[in-house]
Amino acid sequence: MTTELEFERPIRELKDKIAELQSFMKEKDIDLTEEITRLEEKLNNLENETYEHMKPWDRVQIARHAERPTTLDYISYLFTDFIELHGDRLFADDEAIVGGIAMYEDLPVTVIGHQRGKDTKENIRRNFGMPHPEGYRKALRLMKQAEKFNRPVICFLDTKGAYPGMSAEERGQSEAIARNLVEMAGLTVPIVCIVIGEGASGGALGIGVGNHVHMLENSWYSVITPEGAASILWKDATKAKLAAESLKITAPDVKELGIIDEVIEEVKGGAHRDPKEQAERINVVLKASLQELLKLSKEELVEQRYEKYKNMGQFTFVNDSIGVN
């Protein structure tokens, strides 16, 4: 059974009531069909109402759901012949980022993504999906390899941020991320990025400079985690909910700001309720992206990325009207 979230409690309560009536009807041999149908209708409405009007903080909870599909889950649904490749050739293998080569139908591709664990043990091994510099350097190594063999790169973003630790600083966390941004800018193969869960700060962007960038409906993408923003802005991490609302971090909001290309609709209640169906929905968007990008020459791919990012931002001039770049 799926773990329910706080805002889903009324749904659970109604479901319990229906189940209770059903068993009561069987037990006592009383006809409650009418009552049950009425409640089922109510449940349907309540579900639609709840999931269609999710608050940013509800989406953050779904994006963090322990059972939410991860990079490796989607790899297993979307690709065949996947071989995971390890190590940055400099220091270590960072399991917070996974990557490798695979077939996407009959197209060879390189796949890279943040990888969090499914349980505590795996989360410790994968550092809760928070990479060290070696993770970013492994990703870059695989991207350069993809460029050499002219394979498109597909990146799945899902991280609370790059790891804030002493060893990460010593080994150049900043440089590792910065280097990836510059190198991804110039990569001569298509890059498609999909935010599948959490997308926080440079830690997410470090594998996120793409020709096309998409987001799952309930994922979020922001300059920092809501908790981090609350702590910096109001010195109070408990105001995360407010930060989630103020910072415009949900997929529809980020699309509205012109940062992403497509919002990929999620199955009702979130991707974890039907990972296979969710993968299929990703597949539709990914296929369209690749079809479009594969038509572009190497120079056009780099140029397209340049124009895309050059246009991001909003500013104005003294004594002038507002100008969106």
Binding site: Y163, A178, V182, G228, K248, I259, K310, G313, T316, V318
Partner: protein, 287 residues
């Protein structure tokens, strides 16, 4: 321990005759100045003459954008770009416009970076200087756009590009748009690099977060001023994450140098000379 506490307090009272610069990034005003590091007292005039470096301990006071430009560029050579560009409030973030207005009044700057072109000992270049007095030098749309336009000018005019960073990182109030400025400046830097053009990064106090994790760290030469705080994550965040005390020099320019992240830590008094050498070597390259 209690005794220590009292004696520290007593000490403070005893020496508090001339005010120390309240926050380290405030440039001292008034006739006399007291070094925040060694408490040495000197004439402000002398301090300014000494490029805002303490004569006693060598502490480098933060320099604002125009002080930096005046200290390096040949007199009268500076032409500023995009001076009129100001921030909007794309997320309708409560209180943001007021904060910007306040900083504009306080600093006489329109935003946290000044860009333009000029010459250093007759070597032409495009320069960007961040200013930590304006919203802690944080990078939102305007900072990203001005830097990107400056890099594009460098590409267009085939000039070297040099940046002095001083920033707390991405600007929270512009959310994801601030994050994307990291990517925007990076695509421009990639083009500059592909053209074989020079990019020098000089990190000054402080250079952290999204600025550290983008253009600041990818210069052909990465330089820093002595004692500058440079790092990705904040010290407090790291201490809370790993639950252990960090070394005193953690995230200083010297710490980064020791760990192979910098080409050179350069004293302010030697900065102009070193930059001139680099520019000279690059100007003399084979066609």
């Amino acid at each position: 321990m209690l005794k220590d506490f009292f004696s520290k307090n007593a000490k403070k009272k005893k020496y508090a005759t001339i005010p120390t610069a309240k926050i380290k990034h405030d440039v001292p005003e008034g006739l006399m100045s007291k070094c925040p590091e060694c408490k040495h007292i000197m004439y402000t005039k002398e301090l300014k003459k000494n490029l805002l470096v303490c004569q006693s301990c060598g502490y480098h006071y933060p320099m604002n954008s125009y002080e930096r430009i005046n200290s390096l560029l040949d007199e009268g050579s500076f032409i500023e770009y995009d001076k009129e560009m100001i921030s909007d409030n794309p997320l309708n973030f409560p209180g943001y416009l007021e904060k910007l207005e306040g900083d504009r009044k306080k600093t006489q700057l329109n935003e946290a970076v000044v860009t333009g072109e000029g010459t250093i000992n007759d070597f032409p270049l495009v320069i960007a200087v961040m200013d930590s007095r304006f919203r802690m030098g944080s990078m939102g749309s305007v900072v990203g756009e001005k830097i990107t336009r400056a890099i594009e000018k460098a590409v267009e005019k085939k000039l070297p590009f040099i940046i002095f960073t001083a920033s707390g990182g991405a600007r929270m109030q512009e959310g994801i748009l601030s994050l994307m400025q990291m990517a925007k400046t990076s695509v421009a830097l990639k083009r500059l690099s592909e053209n074989g053009q020079l990019f020098i990064s000089v990190m000054t106090h402080p250079t952290t977060g999204g600025v550290s994790a983008s253009f600041a760290s990818v210069g052909d030469y990465n330089f820093a001023e002595p004692g500058a705080l440079i790092g990705f994550a904040g010290r407090r965040v790291i201490e809370q994450t790993i639950r252990q005390e960090l070394p005193e020099d953690f995230q200083t320019a010297e710490f980064l140098f020791k760990h192979g992240q910098l080409d050179k830590v350069i004293k302010r008094s030697e900065l102009k000379e070193t930059l001139t050498k680099v520019l000279k070597i690059h100007a003399g390259g084979r066609e």
